[in-house]
Symmetry: C2
DNA sequence: TAAATTTTGTTAATCGATTAACTATTTTTA
DNA sequence: TAAAAATAGTTAATCGATTAACAAAATTTA
């Protein structure tokens, strides 16, 4: 690649010092005469000057880059949130470096190190299960960061997340209002707080409606026994000799697998069973019945994440916790129509 | 953030010059005595030295970063290829900066400029429709880059893509072998070469089988009239008073929309009509019939893309064109079983 | 009018690492 | 043993931009 035009080239051409050029090109015009400012800007444009970020960063200690560690690049949530974050970052003149932890702690750590090594100015993290220790280390290291989608209530960090507790309650309320009294909840058995909040919301809402939320209805799936556990859970829910049941799936992956098994069993949705999924999925597109599901306010999350991170970067003691309300898309999978 | 440990800190502590430290830490150990090399490495480890990429880049003019411009971050193809590229890039000690053009030419140009401004060492591009001019400019600018998935046969660039011509023929052959003689092809009307190759493959294969590939069967959809054109195309295909037809959709988005409309029409797949999709989609997951589709060799594409780009970066006159063979996943949407 | 202030610049150090060019010492070769 | 070569380092310039500190000239103030 050819060498680019440098500040000095402009300075030479304009017969002034490099400092003057730097001032003019960085909003410090008032330090030189209007004439000179104009001359420099004209020449810069003529030579098609592009500032050399690297050199600037070396001096300013800022790279105008933020690091984003997502849980898995192929989640639907990821693509949406990435897009929103990049858009907002661009507005503030930041680029985004993305890494995917694939939900694995070692990769998560690696990525943080790589990004910090690359001198990102700050980090937006979707922490993986069991990463509390790492997050605490990160606080100590003085690296500006915020958590997103997932967080640890006991660790005082800034975060932007969904109000999962509230969303879960709303789903139960919705099903209860439709006359359901047998509402199952199928969740991963992960220790992640945002997932536990979903279960807590379910349980509390069921109690409030005086409906059962015991082990018969409140199910967990181990990732390493995904298929088996899912089958067992659904078999048990369907075995209850009572009125038409409903299942709330705590994630899209759970919903897809669950609905597939319900299909295998010949259960019709919503005639034989109602279904709600916490997240949406492309897989619902061609399903014979539109699936009622939550909708994460991705744009808003992305926007707030970037804005909050910038605040944190600019002011060490910013500490902001945001819980956003989930949207709710009524399909037909609860027999709505 | 705290100041990091610098080369100089190590030099001071070890009582040697910074140059010596630099040599030792960059595989030039032979320039100093084993003793000293050992002492320096010990101290570097003790102080937890992390090289300052920015400073290094300023001097070496390399950032060890490659830029990737995808067509749309939410395509399934994108997530897969991104993952593959990042993995391979990491092996070669490169980071990846990603941008999404959303199939829009102005965004595509912007992104290239942003990435070049950020001093990426090279670019992997999925060019958008009508971007020939920009690609030619890029060649002139001496920026190392390769094209991926899409390319322009008249522009001498390196590229990694699918053999779309061949894949389309294979689908026709497959349908013909199943006894189909009415095979429709539904494609976008875009001018992009990789899409035209799909149509060309279809037409040539139909001719070879002495089957009709005229306007009745060979359909195009305008993006700006997507729904209308799709309905018309499918209505016409279904209106042909003849035996059971088949449709090959030239992309997953076309397939999803098409299958939805077939559903609306009450057409059963594969009883009333056979369907093949060029690309796979998550949306097929919950469809009542597994959809027969192509499968792009993502890992291989990503690997070859990074390797080729590195070759191009290291050696100006590398010019490599690679056409990979698509995979083929037989579902049941052609009445296979 | 003299002092103080503002305007309009410049100079030079600096960020952290790389590397060509050099020196001094030791070892090898002929 | 003298010359050549290898070994073991160091010095100092450099990458491109930023910015504190300075200085000369012009303008304002008292």
């Amino acid at each position: 690649m050819k060498r680019k035009v440098s500040l000095k080239d402009i300075a030479t051409e304009a017969n002034v010092s490099a400092a003057a050029v730097s001032y003019v090109l960085n909003g410090q015009e008032h330090r030189v005469s209007p004439d000179m400012a104009h001359r420099i800007k004209t020449i810069a444009r003529k030579l098609n000057y592009r500032p050399h970020h690297i050199a600037r960063s070396l001096k300013t200690r800022r790279t105008n880059t933020i690091g984003l560690v997502v849980a898995n690049i192929s989640y639907r949530f990821t693509t949406g949130i990435t897009r929103a974050i990049e858009a907002e970052a661009k507005k503030h003149n930041y680029s985004v470096l993305i890494g995917s932890s694939d939900e694995e702690l070692p990769k998560f750590n690696d990525l943080i190190n790589v990004l910090v090594d690359r001198d990102v100015d700050g980090l937006i993290l979707l922490p993986v299960d069991q990463s509390e220790k790492e997050i605490k280390e990160l606080i100590k290291s003085d690296t500006p960061f915020i958590l997103m989608d997932r967080y640890f209530p006991d660790i005082p960090t800034s975060y932007i997340a969904l109000d999962n507790y509230r969303a879960a309650q709303e789903y139960v309320d919705y099903l209860a209002a439709l006359g359901h009294s047998n509402v199952a909840f199928i969740n991963y058995d992960a220790s992640m707080y945002h997932l536990r909040e979903r279960t807590r919301g379910y349980v509390d809402a069921m109690k409030r409606h005086k409906l059962p939320a015991n082990a018969k209805w409140n199910k967990t799936i181990r990732r390493e026994m995904f298929d088996d556990d899912m089958r067992k859970a659904i078999d048990q829910v369907c075995a209850q000799p009572s009125e038409k049941p409903a299942i709330i799936f705590a994630s899209d992956t759970l919903a897809i697998k669950g609905i597939r098994y319900l299909n295998e069993l010949g259960k019709r949705i919503p005639e034989d069973i109602s279904v709600i999924s916490f997240d949406e999925s492309e897989a619902f597109e061609l399903f014979n019945c539109p699936v009622t599901h939550g909708r994460q306010p991705l744009e808003e999350m992305g926007r707030m994440a970037v804005q909050t991170l910038i605040d944190v970067m600019e002011n060490e003691n910013v500490n902001r916790q945001v819980l956003l309300r989930s949207g709710f898309v009524k399909g037909g999978s609860c027999g709505e129509r």
